[in-house]
């Protein structure tokens, strides 16, 4: 069952990066360091579900912000990530709430409510066509969580 991690359970240290690189952060969950740095700069929310940790980070670029969603396994290894972003557009993260057993509902951009649903088993995905508009992932064919949303265009 999903539950929010208390404030301070996740610590974040912003890492120095090259000027043309996106912000990266070093994380620790309940004092245990996450082995690899992850994209993002500001921790917005953190949840735990069946030993896995679900993190929401933003890039701290207020006029063109991106939301980074990361899922860590029990050993704090990065299982899956997705980015919500769009050129010349921006969002602001607002948590709506948890939807047990495994989902989190929030707003970011696109005039819609987004839902991140954790999956029990990795599911097949097809690059470019399996995600809603504005959701980006690395090239690959599996995912450990789904992002649901029906984003609207600007006008």
């Amino acid at each position: 069952m999903i539950h929010a991690l208390p404030e301070g359970a996740v610590t974040l240290r912003r890492l120095p990066v090259a000027e043309d690189a996106g912000p990266m952060a070093e994380l620790a969950v309940k004092g245990r360091p996450v082995p690899q740095p992850v994209p993002g700069a500001v921790l917005e929310a953190a949840f735990e579900c069946d030993g896995r940790t679900l993190l929401f980070l933003t890039d701290d670029v207020p006029h063109e912000d991106a939301l980074q969603v990361h899922l860590l396994d029990e050993r704090q290894q990065l299982l899956d990530s997705a980015t919500l972003s769009s050129m010349y557009s921006t969002g602001s993260f607002a948590l709506i709430g948890m939807e047990p057993p495994r989902s989190v509902r929030f707003r970011f951009f696109g005039g819609t409510e987004w839902v991140v649903e954790l999956l029990d088993e990795p599911a097949v995905r097809l690059p470019l066509i399996s995600e809603p508009r504005g959701v980006h992932r690395r090239l690959g064919f599996t995912r450990h969580f789904k992002v649901h949303g029906q984003p609207q265009p600007e006008r």
Binding site: H63, S85, M87, G134, P151, E154, R155
Partner: protein, 234 residues
């Protein structure tokens, strides 16, 4: 050569020229949108630097600088969207923005800088100015991931333009009447690019704003039709 063979060959050559023109069309779209993006990054950085200098020298207050940064940033974004191709504009409009108001930004930055729960009006004047200064600085930043991706696309766009140019040079070099062939290549490539922009704009009107796939298809079809038309009537 029979009449049927000649017609087939002519249709094939026209199709190849249409493809060449669409390569130039895609390259021009990528190059134009990448140039607009680089211009956007430069302009917002310059705007933030000028406001920072004005506030540092006391010509305006830091609060005024933050306010102006917020407003000017949005104006620059609109101007740059207008300078993008129809495809670029559709990409930019595909998702409704949900930005923060200046007051939201002030509250958020104050908490990031001085701890959760801190109230902006409880800060010292120097601390408040530091919050405003950070808002000015952040208005001068574009998302580096997007800018880097666009820079890569710029290289791809130039590559496509180079391929198109190389094909045109080959066509002219192997033609019997080089002058006529050169004029024809210029006309077809120009029609491909112009037709692509027009096709994208028409598709944008037909599909509504923020439909990049539809607009891209319109740009491709428009470019191919325009090039094919010029090639057929030449």
């Amino acid at each position: 050569m029979t009449q049927g063979n000649a017609a087939d060959r002519s249709a094939f050559e026209n199709a190849i020229r249409g493809l060449e023109a669409d390569i130039a069309n895609a390259g021009a779209h990528l190059a134009l949108d990448s140039a607009a993006r680089q211009s956007y990054s430069r302009q917002i950085a310059q705007m933030a630097a000028e406001l920072r200098a004005a506030a540092s020298s006391g010509r305006i207050t830091w609060a005024q600088a933050a306010q102006q940064a917020q407003e000017t940033r949005n104006v620059i974004m609109e101007v740059i969207r207008g300078r993008s191709t129809p495809v670029g504009r559709a990409m930019a409009e595909q998702l409704k923005r949900e930005g923060r108001t200046l007051n939201d930004l002030i509250a958020r930055k104050a908490q990031q800088m001085y701890g959760n729960g801190v109230r902006f009006d409880a800060l010292t004047p120097n601390q408040r100015n530091a919050v405003y200064a950070e808002i000015v600085a952040s208005a001068g930043r574009s998302n580096p991931r997007v800018t880097t991706a666009m820079r890569r696309l710029s290289h791809a766009g130039r590559g496509l333009l180079f391929v198109s140019l190389a094909l045109s040079v080959y066509t002219v070099a192997t033609a019997e009447n080089k002058g006529q062939a050169a004029a024809r290549e210029v006309a077809i490539t120009g029609a491909g690019i112009g037709g692509g922009i027009a096709g994208g704009a028409l598709a944008g009107l037909a599909c509504g704003p923020g439909a990049p796939v539809c607009v891209a298809v319109g740009a491709f079809v428009g470019g191919a039709l325009a090039a094919f038309g010029v090639s057929s009537f030449w």
